[in-house]
């Protein structure tokens, strides 16, 4: 339980946007119910934002507004969210990325301090459980979720990971891959994450350009096409060498008490 005193100590860095991920998350949780700290946070945030308005303005290219309008328009287009599915999907992806960041994973958030990065196995286990929680909590309507762990190949060292895909006939499909224990050496970066189906068709998920202190990274993608059938996840290093791979399955095993899929990634006490 974080106290008001602790939060007040963290608020200046939180307002300036440089608090570590775990600290920022703890502050945010506290602010959700503490009105006094929330007011302090708002005031300090307003003070910090003052710096943004003190800068001499720079002029963007004229076409930037069109790009902004197009991107927001794409998100808000009614045909892309027939019910609440699109928003729920977006929320789910965002929630998963937030979960990933809370675990100290770098792509979606800033790097946490080294001593705040959980061990690889622990993080993998935690991310699987977080995925499971998301699946349990989300209203999927007609969506299907597929979940699995990623195991290191001979060249993968101590790496590990997990992946989640959500496929739906009515909303955008999405995929989230969390990896940990990847080598941070420059010659291994960037890592490329792809999905593959049984016929050998590939779908790009994303590129990992940097990893955190624990070799962690998260990539996610919202896919306009269908992810049905893309059950194999592969992570290659910059040389094309496969370092992580795994097969996705229906998450029923994860949602039950059975630890089948979690075997090999014991959760730390």
């Amino acid at each position: 339980m974080v106290t008001c005193a602790t939060v007040r100590d963290l608020l200046p860095e939180h307002a300036l946007g440089v608090a570590a991920s775990l600290e920022a998350a703890a502050v945010d949780r506290h602010l959700a119910w503490c009105a006094a700290c929330r007011k302090e946070s708002r005031d300090l945030g307003r003070a910090a934002a003052t710096f943004a308005f003190a800068l001499p303005p720079a002029d963007p290219e004229p076409g930037l507004e069109d790009q902004v309008r197009r991107r927001v328009g794409d998100l808000a287009r009614p045909t892309r969210r027939p019910h609440h599915g699109r928003r729920m999907g977006t929320v789910l992806l965002a929630a998963a990325l937030v979960s990933a960041s809370l675990l100290g994973v770098a792509i979606a958030d800033r790097e946490p301090a080294r001593d705040q990065v959980p061990a690889t196995n622990d993080r993998t286990s935690m991310s699987l459980e977080d995925f499971s929680d998301l699946i349990r909590q989300a209203e999927f309507d007609d969506s299907e979720a597929f979940l699995g762990t990623l195991a290191p190949t001979a060249k993968g060292g101590r790496a590990g990971g997990s992946a989640l895909t959500i496929a739906s006939p009515s909303v955008d499909d999405q995929v989230i891959v969390i990896a940990a224990g990847l080598s941070p050496r420059e010659r291994r970066l960037p890592y490329r994450v792809t999905l593959r189906d049984a016929q050998g068709h590939r779908m790009r998920v994303g590129m990992i350009r940097s990893v955190d202190a624990g070799g962690g990274a998260t990539v996610g993608r919202i896919v306009r096409g269908s992810l049905i059938g893309f059950m194999y996840v592969v992570v290659r290093d910059a040389n094309g060498v496969i370092v992580l791979e795994g097969t996705l399955g229906a998450p029923t095993a994860l949602l039950s008490p059975s630890p089948t899929v979690l075997r090999g990634v014991p959760r730390q006490p």
Partner: protein, 217 residues
């Protein structure tokens, strides 16, 4: 015109009415130059959420340039600044439901999103050349600005920051513009972490008090 508080693109204020939910039928026009009222901010965000072109245009006209400027200053390239600007508006769309005008101004909310995204990227990406430290006292005047709102906002910001000592300006600039944590500053300067935190807090409170004098509502 249904009586909703709207502002036309020419800058003339139209009669304001009680706030009501944005229906998507009535456009929210590009704004006037002064600060937005809370209900205007709420309507713009509802317009953004529904993908209303006029609302997006109004928001971009008002905040696109400050967001882009921040991206350029923190990330150091036009490409990165343009990408950041797009990300800020899509993030604002995703978080629109969490915006509450009773809890703070839209400008602060958007610039906080922009700053957090920029700092995240600054700290995350290797190989990105960090821009030269931007100190507020190095900021030149910007003659030729034609948006009254931006001028007012910047003048007020400069006045607020003027209350800081040089050391406080430098300290806040290192965190805000370079993304340095209190711990990093403490280690670099060889001073206790608690001292850095105290100074950060003290400097922000000074700016806050200066801001209180200029708040329109």
């Amino acid at each position: 015109m249904d009586g909703r508080a709207t502002i036309d693109a020419g800058g003339a204020r139209k009669p304001a009415a009680a706030a009501e939910p944005y229906t998507g039928r009535t456009p929210v026009h590009a704004g006037h130059d002064g600060p937005l009222l809370p209900r205007e901010e709420q309507q713009l965000m509802e317009g953004l959420l529904s993908g209303d072109d006029d609302a997006i245009h109004a928001l971009y006209a008002r905040f696109g340039r400050p967001v882009y400027t921040m991206g350029l200053r923190l990330l150091g390239s036009r490409e990165a600044a343009e990408e950041l600007t797009q990300d800020v508006f899509t993030t604002a769309w995703r978080k629109a439901a969490s915006f509450d005008p009773a809890r703070g101004r839209l400008s602060t909310w958007l610039m906080t999103i922009a700053h957090n995204l920029a700092v995240d990227r600054l700290r995350r990406e290797t190989g990105v050349t960090r821009p030269t430290l931007v100190l507020v006292d190095e900021v030149p005047d910007a003659p030729g600005l034609d948006e009254e709102g931006l001028i007012m906002e910047r003048d007020a910001a400069l006045r607020a920051i003027a209350c800081l000592s040089e050391a406080e300006k430098r300290l806040l600039a290192r965190t805000y513009f370079r993304g340095m944590t209190a711990r990093e500053i403490a280690e670099t300067d060889g001073i206790p972490l608690g001292t850095v935190k105290t100074r950060l807090r003290s400097a922000l409170i000074k700016v806050r008090k200066a801001n209180e004098a200029k708040e329109p509502w």
